[in-house]
């Protein structure tokens, strides 16, 4: 691979960089982690550039690489107890119920975002990735299963479990009103 290849590659990915950083941020919930994931994804994409030949959609290809790097990254974080300390889901639910007086107002509130982020941290890497792709990115379950490399049924189950965690943590608040 020459410097020329690198320049072509960088110009190709430039228009997708904003999208990739933000997808990585939505999945990891942390700017530094997002940066690491994007770097890993770009490195993998660069090393396997010949695998892109004849593919129609660069973004779909980059997206698949990024999602898999993000899953690897989240798994790595979970293996390092110093970096992975999720609150038990019941604690998240209690915190939400006690500290959020008005749900509509809180949706735009930084505190609310922290609560959502805390629930997201209780999810497994696959639950988190499939939920982000379905809920935030609006991808269909078929697309998600193809991107992540799992069956559609598996993708559905991960999303169901993620939604269950969200509901378990956040719904006590609505039902308490």
């Amino acid at each position: 691979m020459t410097d020329g290849d690198l320049d072509v590659f960088l110009s190709l990915i430039e228009r997708h960089r904003r999208y990739l950083y933000n997808l990585a941020f939505r999945i990891t919930g942390n700017e530094q982690d997002a940066k690491d994931v994007v770097q890993d994804a770009l490195l993998n994409a660069y090393l396997h550039l010949e695998g892109f030949e004849n593919r129609a959609d660069l973004r779909t290809w980059l997206n698949r690489i990024l999602v898999n790097c993000a899953i690897d990254h989240l798994r790595g974080v979970r293996r390092r107890p110093d970096m992975y300390e999720p609150q038990p889901i019941t604690d998240v639910a209690e915190t939400v119920a006690s500290s959020t007086p008005d749900p509509e107002r809180l949706v735009s509130n930084a505190d609310w975002r922290r609560q959502v982020a805390a629930v997201m941290k209780t999810m497994s890497p696959l639950e988190r990735v499939t939920f982000v792709l379905r809920h935030f990115e609006g991808r269909s379950i078929a697309e998600i299963s193809e991107t992540v490399g799992i069956g559609t049924n598996a993708a559905k189950q991960h999303i169901f479990r993620a939604v269950r965690k969200i509901r378990l943590a956040l719904e006590p608040h609505w039902s308490g009103r």
């Binding site: 410097d3 590659f9 904003r18 696959l126 049924n153 999303i159 939604v163 509901r167």
Partner: protein, 394 residues
């Protein structure tokens, strides 16, 4: 229509209920209970909004990214170090020396049980190939443009499959000299350009899994029968006589041989697609696949298997040789071959089963089940090892 389940409501919220969309919507209009549940779900999920967009790192970061890509890609694309190439080829070179060690330590252990750890050590040496290959593949990326990479990949494959390859060569061309001739040929073959892996192997994987189902049924029955051998040789012989009635039918033999051929060809097509540094699970999956391919070839080419007209040896005779592998160097060569075959099979199938289980169970549950499976698998291998070394309950 009965009440909607939570999962149905989630699918409806995301518009993923397919043909049931209208039916579910109608139900929500007529069932107050489900409508309230759906309203609560909608309220919760619509309150979970994505985080604010973050600013893309500025141009100076792009420069740093450029540097990083250049450095890291450069380091990855480098030739594989000579030490790693030597390491993987040392395995098949030294393998024959481990076999007399197994026999002599086995004899020592029969005279004095305290020498049993020596058998374990000798066996560990003989079985080290796949693990050395995994260790090496986790440290170096394979780029087939480089000669050193091709020698490395070929060495890793041979190291992983050494026990089977050794048996096969010894069967066709007995004598240590032929083994080293075969290794020299393998080195030369690995230096030739490698065929590229097809971009999409999805269909190949489907065929691979279908044929694996047939082999799995046969293999599990076979392993079960070997475990019976731990009880007694006569119990094994009785079970083998019974099982032979089934798998010596022409249709069953044809199905097994076809499945084995499909396994080998489809596995070879996928080649080294998922092998990469740091990916222990994928690397072991590939390595166990290479081992199983060699195991199947050696097994299928065993005397009698491809000769359906021949009268099979009596079960009692097979039991007598099968469970006394420490007696001769030839028998000792079968010990790592069979044990690694079982380990590779359990790992290969177990990894797939784990992935399949993730479709139905939470990751934590799958992890717990995996630990249980590892325990069960280890017990099976240890029991088999004892039986093959001539230790029986009765």
């Amino acid at each position: 229509m009965s009440h909607l389940r939570d999962d149905d409501l989630v699918l409806h919220y995301y518009g993923e209920d397919g043909p049931r969309l209208v039916e579910v919507e109608r139900h929500l209009q007529t069932c107050a209970e489900c409508a309230i549940a759906y309203q609560t779900l909608t309220r919760t999920l619509s309150a979970v909004t994505p985080p604010e967009f973050i600013e893309t790192p500025p141009l100076d970061d792009l420069w740093a990214l450029r540097q990083m890509l250049r450095d890291r890609a450069g380091s990855r694309a480098r030739k594989v170090s000579a030490r790693l190439v030597a390491l993987v080829w040392l395995v098949p070179l030294l393998y024959p020396l481990s076999l007399p060690l197994i026999v002599s330590s086995g004899r020592l252990a029969q005279a004095q049980i305290l020498a049993a750890p020596l058998v374990v050590l000798a066996l560990a040496w003989a079985c080290a190939g796949p693990f050395v290959a995994a260790f090496a593949l986790n440290r170096a990326a394979v780029d087939f443009e480089w000669l050193s990479s091709r020698a490395f990949a070929g060495g890793a494959m041979v190291a992983a499959a050494t026990p089977g390859l050794y048996l096969l060569v010894a069967r066709v061309l007995p004598g240590l000299a032929w083994w080293y001739v075969a290794l020299a040929l393998a080195v030369l073959a690995s230096l030739a350009p490698w065929p590229s892996t097809p971009r999409s192997t999805r269909n190949v994987l489907v065929v691979h899994r279908l044929s694996a189902a047939v082999i799995t049924i046969f293999a599990l029955t076979h392993i079960g029968n070997q475990l019976v051998g731990f009880v007694s040789e006569s119990a094994y012989a009785a079970a083998l006589t019974f099982l032979r009635e089934g798998y010596h039918q022409a249709i069953v033999e044809w199905l097994l041989l076809t499945s084995a051929a499909v396994q080998i060809v489809s596995g070879a097509t996928m080649g080294m697609k998922k092998v990469r540094p740091g990916a222990w699970t994928d690397n072991f999956q590939a390595i166990s696949g290479w081992y199983l391919a060699m195991f199947l070839i050696t097994h299928v080419l065993a005397p009698g298997v491809l000769n359906p007209g021949a009268t099979p040896a009596p079960a009692a005779v097979i039991a007598a040789t099968q469970f006394n592998l420490l007696a001769t160097a030839r028998g000792a060569a079968s010990l790592p071959f069979l044990l690694l075959g079982v380990v590779a099979f359990l790992y290969h199938v177990g990894t797939y089963a784990r992935l399949a289980a993730l479709a139905y169970l939470a990751e934590a549950q799958v992890r717990r089940l995996s630990y249980a499976a590892v325990f069960a698998g280890t017990s099976v291998v240890v029991t088999l090892a004892l039986a093959l070394c001539g230790v029986h309950l009765i």
